[in-house]
């Protein structure tokens, strides 16, 4: 029995000492398409970033296939939010997709013929090969998201984290992306997706993590996507949790 792709234990994350995620405990089994669901400000993106070591943990541990992230980063792919990068940056579609191969190359080594071929295949999978020489500002929102997805494919990971891949994309692209994610899942890979649209949740995912500053529920779609759990995640503000977080922040400053 191999270790699960992702185990999070007692993870607490704080911005400026104010906790935004409390004591998260979750184990994601292999080969699932996982939706990370919750209201605005629930800490969905924070969960991903903290797991990948982009934000320091206030406490807790994260294990990837039973090991710390630094030992397993080559098995993990990441798609940041589309707005997190500067689309005026002087790079073409091909340049960006090729970036997916950088992690496996390590420091200094440059991508060669093998990496170029891989990038080419990934562009074809997403149907963006005809734009390969365009600067990325000249793409529509959906095309930009496809570029990010193609780059993630080029990472050839076993476990993927995707931060809101469906925001600002057209219906056709959304269909393409979800088809691609289901394909990855069918190949035995594990995919975690931060997702906003509650309506499509049962259709898209087979495992969900419901968040609202703390873990509300995590598990199989059928048993977890219940009105009671949704009520707990979305129903009203968690005033007491907010107040305690605020007290921690105030206590830390004079």
């Amino acid at each position: 029995m191999s270790a699960p792709p992702l185990e999070i234990h007692d993870m607490t994350v704080a911005y400026h000492r104010k906790p935004v995620l409390w004591d998260i405990d979750v184990v994601v089994p292999e080969g699932r398409l996982v939706g990370i669901i919750g209201p605005n400000g629930a800490g969905k993106s924070t969960l991903i970033k903290a797991a990948l070591g982009l934000i320091p943990l206030a406490s807790g541990q994260v294990w990837f296939y039973g090991q710390p992230y630094a030992r397993q980063r080559h098995r993990v792919g990441y798609v940041p939010q589309r707005e997190s990068v500067d689309w005026d940056f002087p790079v073409t579609v091909q340049d960006v997709v090729l970036m997916g191969t950088y992690g496996a190359l390590g420091w200094v080594r440059r991508p060669g013929a093998r990496e170029r071929r891989l990038a080419e295949e990934c562009m074809e999978t997403l149907g963006i090969q005809e734009f390969r020489h365009r600067q990325i500002r000249q793409l529509s929102g959906g095309q930009q998201q496809r570029v990010f997805l193609a780059r993630a494919l080029a990472q050839q990971a076993d476990l993927y984290f995707m931060d809101e891949p469906f925001v600002g994309v057209d219906a056709q692209t959304e269909k393409t992306i979800i088809g691609l994610l289901q394909n990855l899942r069918n190949l035995g890979k594990t995919v975690l997706v931060v997702h906003h649209d509650l309506q499509t949740v049962p259709e898209y995912f087979d495992f969900i993590i419901l968040l609202n500053m703390r873990l509300v529920a995590a598990g199989d779609m059928a048993s977890t996507f219940t009105p009671e759990n949704l009520q707990k995640a979305y129903g009203g503000r968690l005033t007491l949790l907010d107040q305690v977080a605020e007290a921690v922040r105030r206590g830390a400053s004079p």
């Binding site: 990948l52 990441y78 940041p80 790079v91």
Partner: protein, 449 residues
């Protein structure tokens, strides 16, 4: 190999030396500057170039020499202090990032000026020179290397240029990814902080190497302006770097000439000419310049007039079979103006319309173009009525505006959404295009962003 140089006129020798030294400095700065601009750290580079001043003076006072290693250590120490103080003010004291940067670097710079005034005289360091440089006197300060007199400034800046070049070439991939998407770079194990501080150290080193002859004004300008100019003119990073280096070198050349002509400070003239290049790029850059944008708008306006003319003739023919419009009717119908006349002539010249005695007639190519426009118009009208629930009499105006932008693939999607509808809301047929033909102005349409 240097004999030819020694035989030149001394004035020419000076000119060449000054331009070579300035070019090397400018290129060294421009290379790093590209990454400062792209990482939105322009101000930080600027701040660092200023803030290292007290570091230089302190190193100077302690060692009593102008040797590069001592200067560099002093500058890097202050550079790191700048970064730490800025971070500290921002993180711990909650001061906003730009304010903390502004406070730290102006204070340190002022401290540097005071220190120079106080201790500079003893060790021959002049605030005026630190600011404006003494490029004109680059010949006076030489080292003997292998029997040749080599300007000291050249010996200092050349290794720095090579180092910067190596840094960019060796860590190209990491710089590209780290600047474009720092989160992914960090997730992949390329520590963004490491690159960031290496970049900062190199900025400090370049500033130090340049300050003595070239002065900090030129360094500050060259770190940012050529890179910003190049960013306006290029869509790929390596082209941007080449262009930035080119603009840096050109500024050195033009600035030197300007300084001779107007009898002003050389470094200042170089910095000003780089600013002029930036202004020129704002106007003339192929993709982002105002001129090209204006031309693009003008081309779009002309195309809209052309399509309106074609659409008008098409509709008139359709309304009363075989009815031909007179040029004067078209002219009046589109509100007149010199451009309508010009476009009418252009359409006739391109053989889109033919002037017959009984009026204007569409050529086969013109008819195809007109049909595409009318199709796009009527598809959009039908869509507005059917899917947006707009009343019939409210859809003509919006469709007049939108018809010029709906390309063939979008037309097909609209047609798909409308099903087998063949008539528009006003009961007129939606033109069908022959399957294999494409709209004749396809290339023009693809230019639309």
């Amino acid at each position: 190999m240097w004999h030819w140089f020694a035989e030149l006129d001394p004035n020419l020798q000076t000119a060449i030396t000054v331009i070579v030294v300035a070019t090397m400095t400018n290129v060294a700065c421009a290379l790093l500057g590209c990454f400062l601009v792209l990482r939105r750290m322009s101000l930080l580079g600027d701040a660092l170039a200023h803030a290292v001043l007290p570091g230089l003076v302190i190193a100077f006072v302690f060692t009593g020499t102008l040797s590069l290693p001592a200067m560099f250590l002093g500058a890097v120490a202050i550079g790191v202090l700048t970064a730490l103080l800025t971070e500290g003010l921002h993180r711990q004291a909650g001061v906003s990032e730009d304010a903390s940067l502004g406070v730290v670097f102006t204070s340190l710079f002022a401290l540097g000026v005071i220190l120079i005034k106080r201790y500079g005289q003893d060790v021959d360091l002049d605030p005026d020179c630190v600011l404006n440089g003494m490029l004109e006197m680059v010949d006076d300060n030489v080292w003997q290397i292998g029997g040749f007199e080599v300007p000291r400034a050249l010996v200092t800046i050349l290794p720095v240029l090579i180092l910067n070049l190596l840094f960019v070439v060796v860590f190209w991939k990491e710089l590209l990814l780290g600047s474009f998407d720092p989160a992914l770079a960090t997730a992949m194990g390329f520590r963004a902080g490491l690159l960031h501080y290496t970049l900062m150290c190199l900025v400090a080193l370049t500033t130090v190497a340049a300050f003595e002859q070239v002065g900090s004004i030129l360094v500050v300008a060259m770190l940012i302006v050529p890179a910003a100019t190049a960013h306006l003119c290029s869509d790929r990073l390596h082209i941007m770097l080449w262009l930035a280096a080119g603009f840096g070198a050109l500024s050195a050349l033009v600035g030197y000439a300007a300084a001779l002509i107007f009898d002003v400070n050389t470094a200042g003239a170089m910095a000003v000419s780089s600013g002029i290049f930036y202004g020129a790029a704002l106007f003339f850059s192929p993709r982002y310049g105002w001129v090209s944008r204006w031309l693009h708008q003008a081309a779009l306006r002309l195309r809209i007039i052309a399509e309106d003319i074609l659409g008008m003739i098409y509709r008139a023919e359709e309304w009363a079979a075989g009815r031909r419009l007179q040029p004067a009717e078209v002219f009046r119908g589109l509100g007149g103006g010199v451009w309508v006349r010009v476009v009418l002539s252009w359409l006739a010249w391109r053989d889109m319309i033919r002037r017959q005695p009984e009026g204007l007639e569409l050529s086969p190519a013109g008819r195809l173009w007109a049909a595409a426009v009318v199709r796009s118009h009527r598809l959009w009208e039908s869509y507005l009525v059917r899917h947006l629930g707009l009343p019939d009499d409210h859809v003509h105006e919006p469709a007049m505006r939108v018809e010029h932008y709906i390309e063939a693939p979008l037309q097909e999607q609209l047609a798909g959404a409308l099903g087998a509808e063949l008539l528009d809301p006003h009961g007129r047929p939606i033109p069908q295009l022959p399957a294999e033909s494409e709209s004749p102005n396809k290339d023009e349409r693809q230019d639309q962003p």
